[in-house]
């Protein structure tokens, strides 16, 4: 690995060998290794999405049995659903399974990230190494904001490719013919939409995760209660005192408000779009990027993370 060149040949009795300060510093990658260390510690980061994917695949295998019959039948049986949406359904379900899983993992990971290291006192070990508090907090923030979305994307793409090949194999074996399936399932488009959705989610939820990380750096215990109850209390107070629900709807908007901004759920003709397959034409990145809430949220996220960095610097083991 990385060995300082003169570390071994330094003689103990080298009175003349004055320590030369600018030794060639080996390039280190604190952020990279800090992220890897988070994944070592929190295996739920990949175990939970993989488990969800496994469940999704199991359901898909069962669904596969009905595929030939479905292809032979007409889409009329399925009401307003288009053929494409019907075919895309299991693929969409997989994504819908992975996204909430990643969100829940991200939430609980963030609540523990800066709390656990104080609770088990390992913060004293981490702080004994030349890794700044900023690097440490950024590594932790990147788990829900970058690592989990990438993981979900990777798992989804891989499994959807597998599902696609299996579907074709089943159709060919059953003699139904795969040409309709081939032409009607826009797999590449689905992956692009998923990637877009993951980026949207990550940007929109950044202040949520930053808030959770801040609470995790601040609270001595019961991080989940500290993160959630004060917000609910404010909403309830407002409801009772003023009979309004601004704060509550603000919270709801922060969790789910990305959807109407980033996607158009109706075609220009007013036809509703099936959520199992959202075509590329229904993405509205311009609208999303021009939403003030997005940018305000990102600023708030930056402020909360800066506060978490500062807290980590001051905080001692619990």
């Amino acid at each position: 690995m990385t060995t300082p060149p003169n570390a071994m040949c330094e003689s103990p009795q080298g009175i003349e060998s004055q320590r030369i300060p600018p030794e060639p510093i080996v390039t280190t990658r604190p952020l990279y290794w800090s992220i890897r260390r988070e994944i070592w510690e929190n295996r739920s980061i990949y175990v939970a999405p993989l488990a969800a994917a496994g469940l999704g695949m199991l359901a898909f295998f069962i669904n596969l049995l009905f595929l030939p019959r479905m292809m032979r039948g007409t889409s009329a049986h399925h009401g307003p659903m288009s053929g494409t949406a019907m075919l895309a359904m299991p693929y969409g379900h997989l994504a819908w399974l992975l996204l909430p899983t990643a969100f829940i993992v991200g939430v609980f990971y963030s609540l523990d990230a800066l709390h656990g290291e104080r609770r088990d006192r390992s913060i004293l070990f981490w702080k004994s190494l030349p890794v700044s508090d900023l690097t440490a907090v950024l590594a932790k923030a990147s788990i829900p904001l970058v690592v989990l979305p990438l993981l979900v994307f990777g798992i989804a793409v891989f499994l959807q490719l597998v599902m696609w090949q299996l579907s074709i194999a089943v159709l060919l074996i059953s003699g139904t013919g795969a040409s309709t399936f081939w032409t009607q399932l826009p797999l590449f488009q689905m992956e692009l939409v998923l990637l877009y959705g993951l980026i949207v989610l990550s940007l929109w939820h950044a202040p949520v995760y930053a808030w959770l990380l801040l609470v995790s750096a601040w609270a001595r215990r019961a991080t989940f209660l500290w993160a959630v109850l004060p917000l609910l209390a404010i909403a309830a107070f407002e409801r009772i005192a003023f009979r309004t629900f601004h704060f509550g709807s603000f919270l709801g908007d922060r969790l789910f408000g990305f959807a109407p901004k980033a996607f158009a759920f109706k075609t220009p003709d007013g036809v509703p779009v099936d959520p199992h397959f959202i075509p590329l034409t229904q993405l509205t990145p311009g609208k999303f990027l021009s939403t003030p809430g997005l940018w305000l949220g990102l600023i708030v996220a930056a402020v909360l993370l800066a506060a978490a960095v500062r807290l980590r610097r001051y905080r001692e083991p619990i």
Partner: protein, 291 residues
């Protein structure tokens, strides 16, 4: 250049003053023992030196301000805190990977060499290791870092006597090279007596004694006085007096060895005895303070 230099170092937690205006200068290449009763402010002072806590007063460690430059400072400073702080979930191999990945002065081969002398397996998790093995692992990691200052806060707490002996042996034989500086706090004073080059007693946030070990040996004498000489010996103003098996033992600061030898058996006191004398006189509750 002084390795650690503090002037008027002060730290209060609310109304409790943990470190009360400490002046301190540790030269490079020394092994300083920081000895004090529980709650004396040792750990707080060390935390300030390591950039783990903000403080008042002036403090430079290797020419840097530790509080504002902790991550920079940690390239040249290592520490082992008072309790096992290696995360319990980490594997030995992961700990090696991580430190190698973030520390520019870590020599992985050296750490592997130290570990080869132990029974620690690469695939083990820290939670699976015994307390002694965790200390060995931490020491192996730290000794493989080419640091200029090593701070050890109760490094052998809770270890059995074999591990404790081994700990200081490897520290002296495999690590210390007279250019590095080591600061160690411990309650097991007799174990470090032959290791230290400098000695410092701290009590209630203040330094109550500071000397080199040469100074210590020439300055302090212990006299096991013969019963008939006891009045004459007391007239020489010992700083402490105690009874052992019916014999009176007197501790003197800057007494004449010849003069004392005429009154009984003279020897260099242990650090523990001096500690009891100095701190005990101060607090009036000498017993049990040293342990």
């Amino acid at each position: 250049m002084a390795c650690i230099e503090a002037r008027g170092l002060r730290k209060a937690f609310g109304t409790t003053i943990a470190v009360d205006g400490v002046d301190l200068r540790v030269e490079e290449g020394r092994i300083l023992g920081l000895i004090g009763p529980n709650g004396a402010g040792k750990t707080t002072a060390l935390n300030a030196i390591l950039g783990l806590t903000p403080y008042q007063g002036e403090l430079r460690v290797l020419g840097r301000d530790p509080w504002s430059n902790r991550d920079q400072l940690m390239r040249d400073v290592c520490f082992i805190a008072d309790v096992a702080v290696l995360p319990r979930w980490i594997r030995v191999s992961q700990a090696l990977d991580y430190v190698a990945g973030v520390h520019p002065r870590f020599d992985r081969a050296k750490a592997e060499g130290f570990l080869a002398k132990t029974t620690i397996k690469r695939a083990s998790k820290v939670r699976e290791l015994s307390k002694g093995m965790v200390a060995q692992l931490h020491l192996a990691l730290v000794m493989a870092i080419d640091a200029r200052l090593l701070v050890l806060d109760e490094p052998t707490l809770g270890l059995d006597i074999l591990y404790r002996k081994q700990f200081y042996d490897s520290l002296l034989n495999d690590y210390f090279d007279r250019t590095r500086t080591i600061v160690v706090t411990t309650h097991q004073v007799e174990e470090v007596q032959d290791v230290l080059t400098d000695l410092m007693f701290i009590n209630r946030g203040r330094i109550v004694l500071s000397c080199s070990m040469e100074e210590f040996e020439s300055r302090y004498l212990e006299l096991m006085v013969r019963p008939e000489n006891i009045v004459a010996a007391r007239a020489l103003r010992p700083i402490h007096e105690r009874q052992v098996f019916g014999r009176t033992i007197l501790l003197f600061d800057r007494a004449d060895r010849q003069q004392l030898a005429a009154l009984g058996d003279v020897r260099t006191p242990s650090i523990a005895d001096l500690f009891v004398a100095v701190i005990g006189n101060q607090t009036g509750q000498a017993q049990g303070a040293a342990r």
